[in-house]
């Protein structure tokens, strides 16, 4: 983990909500695990004050580059979307425990809800490079809340759902699960809104599949010192509070205490 001022090599608006930013950060790009994140200072003023966490969408240690895919939500992401090529971005990372690749080879299902596709890209690439067979299912409310759904097919068979039917199947991600041959899967990975993750866990559980989820929690430090980003894990009756930033953001779904 390091702090560095990374040069913005490119920034591109992909949809009305999504931006893709490419950074030059050779030291950071050297040792990334898919699912890790960067903690980014979005402006120089004191409002917004805290850094904002973004999954590492992709990285290339050779070129020293790194990409973040982000959705404009509030003031921090708004400021980030206005960065210009050539500016320096104050980033801290790579942070957190990413997705674990548990076997040498196998079949993986990657499921993303909305901006949840962000960390799956680098994961899909890594799996593909390790000769895993990858299936991807992406869903969102509407087309503009999906960014790279068309490009994902280079990593594996890709299914798309939107609630308004503006692209792909009209419906929810969970409606697409029957299309997937669950019995052949070795690992399921997911990132998205918590209710989606909870529903997926019900499904993987009933299919006896291991599920890794990337969780989202408001963060101050991003490096395990403020104890702000807690997620109950362990036994529901006597949960332990894990830190999403350093114990996660990726957790094995069976560890997580899911809300009812």
């Amino acid at each position: 983990m390091q702090r560095t001022f990374a040069k913005v090599l490119n920034i591109e608006q992909l949809t009305s909500h999504y931006f893709l930013i490419t950074l030059m950060a050779p030291q950071l790009a050297r040792t990334v695990q898919p699912g890790q994140f960067l903690h980014v200072r979005t402006g120089e003023q004191l409002d917004p004050l805290l850094r904002r966490p973004f999954s590492i969408h992709d990285w290339h240690s050779g070129e020293g580059t790194m990409q973040l895919l982000f959705q404009v939500k509030g003031k921090g992401t708004q400021l980030l979307s206005r960065k210009q090529k050539g500016e320096q971005l104050d980033v801290l990372g790579p942070l957190g425990n990413g997705f674990a690749i548990t076997k040498k080879k196998g079949k993986a299902l990657l499921i993303g809800g909305g901006i949840g596709e962000a960390p799956l890209w680098g994961l899909a690439r890594t799996l593909k490079e390790a000769h895993w067979e990858v299936t991807i299912v992406l869903g969102a409310a509407k087309q503009t809340l999906l960014a790279r759904h068309n490009d994902f097919s280079q990593w594996g068979e890709t299914y798309i759902a939107t609630e308004d039917g503006s692209v792909g199947f009209k419906g929810r991600v969970t409606n697409l699960l029957p299309l997937v041959a669950a019995e052949h899967l070795d690992q399921v990975y997911a990132c998205g809104p918590k209710p989606l993750l909870a529903a997926l866990y019900t499904w993987t559980n009933s299919n006896n599949l291991p599920l890794q989820v990337s969780l989202d929690e408001v963060m101050a430090c991003g490096m395990g010192v403020c104890l702000g980003c807690v997620q109950p894990v362990g036994r529901k009756e006597a949960p332990v509070l894990a830190k999403v930033c350093t114990d996660g953001p990726v957790f094995s779904a069976e560890e997580v205490v899911w809300d009812d």
């Binding site: 983990m1 390091q2 702090r3 200072r41 004191l46 409002d47 917004p48 004050l49 805290l50 850094r51 104050d90 801290l92 929690e217 408001v218 963060m219 101050a220 430090c221 991003g222 490096m223 395990g224 010192v225 403020c226 104890l227 702000g228 980003c229 807690v230 997620q231 332990v240 509070l241």
Partner: protein
């Protein structure tokens, strides 16, 4: 001046420079070892420690506000025994003074904590009588001068370490509390701890924080912290450690000129985890350029008054 004198004395303890970390914002220090040289700091003040382990408050525990942060961690910590056996051995080799922030629910607990930390190699105790998140003890001790003094006396009686008392800003009269803890034997006061605040989530129509209330810190509170440092440092003769919204050398100098003998960076560590070392180098340059030692700057702004 090539090498200005930046040292600070707090009773028997001499810090090589006035920049410390604020409790609860720097973990146990080890997490920062990748980002900076811990031994370059004036001191590391560790996360608040209690007698027994505490799980802290339910989430959400953090919410950003305008130029500030509300936290309701609730003193999550592994307890003093785990601190001594598991954490301290890793920390001591870093050759930086370790100051342990302690919180008790009763006078006895403060005394036991102080006694337990006596021969462990830590350099000083910071007695937190001000944490607003703990329902028992905390807030009360810090808001009534007599009770604050009792806590200090209980700690004083059980340790030979320098005793720093961390005060709550949520009081009508910070000066009388400071005088009271000074009289009870405090070697220094730290101020300020967080201001009690809250935020509402209008979508969910309920408080954002799991604990409803939280402590406000960061640049938003700096004017209040500076005012209290100014008032207290002129009313007591022990050193004042100033904190509240320090992010830059400029902020640190404001506190020092207002009367702080040393300063601590809290929320600033989240914004810039290298803020402490940048400030040390900034103060060093400032003193060099102005040909002064640190102690010449302490309370510099009083004279104008």
């Amino acid at each position: 001046m090539i090498n200005p004198d930046l040292t600070v004395k707090i009773s028997s303890l001499t810090l090589k420079n006035p920049v410390m970390t604020a409790s609860g914002t720097f973990g146990f220090g080890l997490e920062f070892a990748n980002l900076l040289d811990l031994s370059s700091l004036g001191a590391v003040v560790v996360k608040g420690i209690t007698l027994t382990p505490r799980q802290g408050n339910p989430g959400p525990r953090i919410v950003e506000t305008a130029a500030g942060v509300l936290n309701a961690i609730g003193l999550e910590n592994p307890g003093v025994e785990a601190f001594i056996s598991d954490i301290l051995p890793e920390l001591l080799p870093h050759a930086v003074p370790i100051i342990v922030n302690i919180s008790g629910n009763t006078l006895d607990e403060y005394g036991i904590l102080a006694a337990r930390l006596n021969e462990t190699g830590v350099s000083a105790l910071e007695v937190n009588i001000s944490c607003p998140n703990v329902k028992e003890g905390g807030l009360v001790f810090g808001t009534v001068p007599e009770q604050a003094a009792q806590v200090v006396a209980a700690v004083r009686a059980n340790t030979r370490l320098p005793v720093i008392v961390k005060l709550s800003p949520n009081v009508t009269d910070i000066v009388s509390i400071s005088k009271s803890v000074e009289a009870a034997g405090a070697d220094a006061v730290s101020l300020i701890n967080t201001l009690l605040g809250m935020a509402i989530d209008t979508t969910k129509m309920k408080p954002v924080l799991g604990n409803v209330f939280g402590g406000l810190s960061g640049p938003a509170v700096k004017p209040v912290a500076l005012r209290m440092v100014w008032q207290v440092s002129q009313a007591v003769s022990i050193p004042v450690i100033g904190m509240g919204g320090i992010l830059s050398t400029e902020d640190a100098l404001e506190f020092i000129m207002a009367g702080a003998s040393a300063i601590a960076v809290g929320t600033g560590n989240f914004v810039n985890p290298q803020a402490t070392v940048e400030i040390i180098s900034g103060i060093n340059s400032y003193c060099s350029e102005h040909e002064v030692n640190l102690k010449d700057l302490v309370g510099m702004a009083w004279e104008a008054n």
